[in-house]
């Protein structure tokens, strides 16, 4: 099992957001996590990636069988965890090229591999640019600085392509995308899919799942996964809305 989350409870400033969440992801799988706003989807993504300010009060997050909650965000990244941000941060003054070269070489250093030379890096960048259909000139610009919503999300997928993570979590990567950008982003994810890696796609709408076919769909509601199923669950949610889930949860409790 690649990622195994058991009975996870997470609080922010004393307020419990995730209330006993269980999730298992195996290599080669794509999981979709859906749910209404404010149910803890982004919190889950941030906690796995190691963002500060979240307190795990109970439960565990095992990645490749090891507890990763003791690791720093950079160590988790080097171990193969990648977070695609819902709101990618603008960093004026740092070019994407320099940013990614630094990131790749730090990850390689962690894995005791020699750094990529400038030539190797540029070749790799060219390859990935084609894969995610990102414009050449974009990579010379400062990270996300002045990018459109679509460009920012494409840039996230581009970074994912370069860093080749084992466990990618894409937090609402589809939000704010027009249909063309959505297709490009989804194509990137599909092309990067293989037997070794896994992807968690967090989304509010079913639309993205027309392009990225998930193996499992989970519904996150009030800090817990209340329903899991195959790709048809997403269609059901699209048709019936989340109200149906709410009622089901209330009935059970």
């Amino acid at each position: 099992m690649l990622l195994n989350i058991r009975n996870l409870h997470v609080s922010i400033e004393g307020k419990e957001i995730i209330k006993g969440l269980d999730l298992s992801v195996n290599n080669g799988e794509v999981h979709a996590i859906m749910g209404p706003n404010g149910t803890g989807k982004s919190t889950l993504a941030a906690v796995v990636a190691g963002k500060e300010g979240y307190e795990i009060t109970e439960g565990e997050i095992l990645y490749k069988g090891k507890d990763i909650t003791v690791l720093s965000p950079e160590e988790r990244a080097c171990e193969g965890i990648f977070l695609g941000f819902q709101y990618p941060v603008e960093i004026p003054g740092v070019s994407i090229t320099n940013f990614m070269r630094t990131a790749i070489n730090e990850q390689r250093e962690y894995k005791k591999l020699p750094p990529l030379t400038a030539t190797e890096f540029l070749a790799k960048m060219d390859e990935m640019k084609k894969l995610v259909e990102i414009q050449s000139k974009l990579t010379n610009r400062s990270v996300n600085s002045g990018f459109s919503g679509g460009e920012k999300k494409k840039n996230e997928i581009f970074q994912m392509a370069l860093l080749e993570p084992t466990m990618a979590i894409l937090d609402e990567t589809d939000s704010g995308l027009d249909i063309d950008a959505l297709r490009i982003v989804a194509n990137g994810v599909n092309k990067l899919r293989n037997k070794e890696n896994a992807t968690i796609v967090i989304t509010h709408y079913q639309r993205l799942l027309d392009y990225i076919i998930p193996d499992f769909v989970h519904v996150l509601f009030e800090g817990r996964i209340v329903k899991s199923g195959g790709k048809n669950l997403a269609l059901e949610l699209e048709a019936k809305g989340y109200e149906w889930i709410k009622q089901e949860v209330e009935r059970m409790s």
């Binding site: 500060e52 950079e74 990648f82 941060v89 730090e106």
Partner: protein, 473 residues
């Protein structure tokens, strides 16, 4: 803490000592009576005697520990001979592809293995100010001390005591292709007080790039009190760079005055990497219509270093623009002051002026006191100002770290990016790359003072690597 009153500071031994020194060396200091300068010096001395050092509680000094630099015992050199000193033996500028015409000062005195002053084929005059006063009295008399008449304590002190410095005159219509680089070295076995003066005149429609690396010093305590006057005549263009990299025992009082006439353009970059106590007074006088001033500064201070930047932009005439951005990073117990003052006179309609001061404090002990100030008397103007004091952006930190970049490097990358906004405004590529390199070293904590400064003393055998690899930042 400063507790002194005005009387206390003016009773400090240094002022009394300077008065005695002036009287004892009067003939040497004021020079030949026939020269116009002797009267100017005498007047400035009388004025300094009256006003002394600044009131430590005054608006622009109250957050700077002036006493610290005024309590040292300094020596002054009034007849320092640089004859026979070979410039090449003192330093060698090793910036790749940075071809400049170098003029240098040693302990405030002009050094040149050749002549003290030269006239280029295009008519540009470059050399010693002391020599220029004698050889070009009409030029120097017309301009020296004429930028802004005011009672600035340290400027009066400089006018009274300064003997030498750099003189540049660019004739009308001449574009000086090669940048002129001024290097000042202080190298003496005792603590020195150095007053030197520069006078730079740009004729109508002329063009000059001037780089001042005037603050490379050994590890003695010294106090440098320098004044530079720039005259930008109608339609002239000045690209100016000033680098400050001093040891932590040094005090530097730098007053730089710019007087701009009609349609002239100024771009000035101030880059401060190290120094015990540094005070920069930048005064820009927009005295003709259609002038443009770009005033940029970046300061990177740590340990107990102190920086005090004062920028005064005087919009006298209509249709001028000024744009000011100062950014600083203060680490450990470093402290800073920024006072920006933009004055728009009643007739200076259609002025466009902006003023920005941004600061990052890396520790709880670091401090900055920033006061941007607009004073506007015209009614049809576009003016804006802003000041911020903050920490590194936490979201950006997490973003970088989530990609595998370690905390320390992520911090450095963000600090570098922050400073890069100013560094990227340097128009000369070779200089920009070198300064970029220095900023990176500075942020890594590897830039010590004189051994890694912009100058490379001949004894330094270390090669400088100019490749920029952010993965090593």
């Amino acid at each position: 803490m400063m507790t002194g009153s005005k009387d206390q500071i003016n009773n400090i031994p240094l002022k009394e000592k300077l008065i005695t020194v002036f009287k004892e060396n009067r003939n040497k200091i004021i020079g030949e009576k026939t020269l116009f300068i002797s009267e100017i010096r005498q007047k400035a001395f009388e004025n300094f005697k009256k006003i002394g050092f600044p009131d430590p509680n005054s608006q622009t000094w109250k957050n700077t520990d002036l006493k610290k630099i005024l309590s040292e015992d300094y020596e002054q050199l009034f007849d320092f001979s640089t004859e026979g000193t070979n410039v090449e033996e003192i330093f060698q500028c090793k910036i790749h592809n940075f071809d400049t015409y170098i003029v240098s000062l040693l302990n405030g005195w002009y050094v040149n293995s050749g002549s003290q002053i030269s006239t280029m084929p295009d008519g540009t005059i470059v050399g010693s100010l002391a020599k220029a006063i004698k050889e070009f009295p009409e030029l120097t008399e017309k301009y020296l001390g004429k930028v802004q008449k005011q009672n600035n304590n340290f400027t009066e002190l400089n006018t009274a005591f300064s003997q030498d410095g750099i003189f540049i005159y660019v004739p009308d219509g001449v574009e000086v292709i090669k940048p002129i680089q001024m290097v000042s070295i202080i190298n003496h076995d005792k603590n020195l007080l150095v007053n030197y003066r520069n006078l730079i005149i740009l004729g109508k429609n002329s063009k000059l790039t001037f780089v001042q690396c005037d603050d490379a010093i050994n590890h003695n305590s010294s106090l440098t009190n320098t004044v530079t006057e720039f005259f930008l005549n109608e339609g002239s263009n000045l690209d100016h760079y000033k680098l400050q990299n001093l040891n932590n025992n040094s005090g530097l009082i730098n007053s730089t005055y710019f007087k701009q006439e009609k349609n002239s353009n100024l771009c000035t970059n101030l880059i401060i990497l190290n120094g015990g106590i540094i005070r920069n007074d930048y005064k820009i006088n927009l005295n003709g219509e259609g002038c443009n001033s770009e005033i940029y500064g970046v300061y990177l201070m740590d340990s107990g270093q102190h920086i005090n930047n004062q920028v005064y932009v005087d919009h006298v005439k209509a249709n001028c623009t000024s744009n000011q951005i100062f950014k600083g990073i203060l680490d450990e117990q470093a402290s800073g002051v920024f006072n920006g003052h933009v004055l728009v006179h009643r007739n200076a309609q259609h002025t466009s002026a902006s003023q920005t001061n941004r600061n990052i404090l890396l520790t709880d002990e670091a401090s900055i006191n920033t006061q941007p100030f607009l004073e506007i008397y015209a009614d049809d103007v576009k003016c804006g100002h802003g000041a911020t004091v903050g920490q590194l952006d936490k979201e950006a930190m997490f973003y970088l770290r989530s990609r595998g970049i370690g905390e320390k490097n992520a911090r450095m990358l963000l600090m570098y990016a922050y400073a890069a906004e100013i560094i990227n405004k340097i128009n000369i590529e070779a200089l920009r790359l070198r300064i970029d390199d220095m900023v990176k070293q500075r942020l890594r904590g590897e830039l010590s003072v004189c051994d890694k400064c912009i100058l490379h003393c001949r004894k330094e055998d270390e090669e400088i690597n100019f490749d920029i690899d952010m993965s090593k930042v």
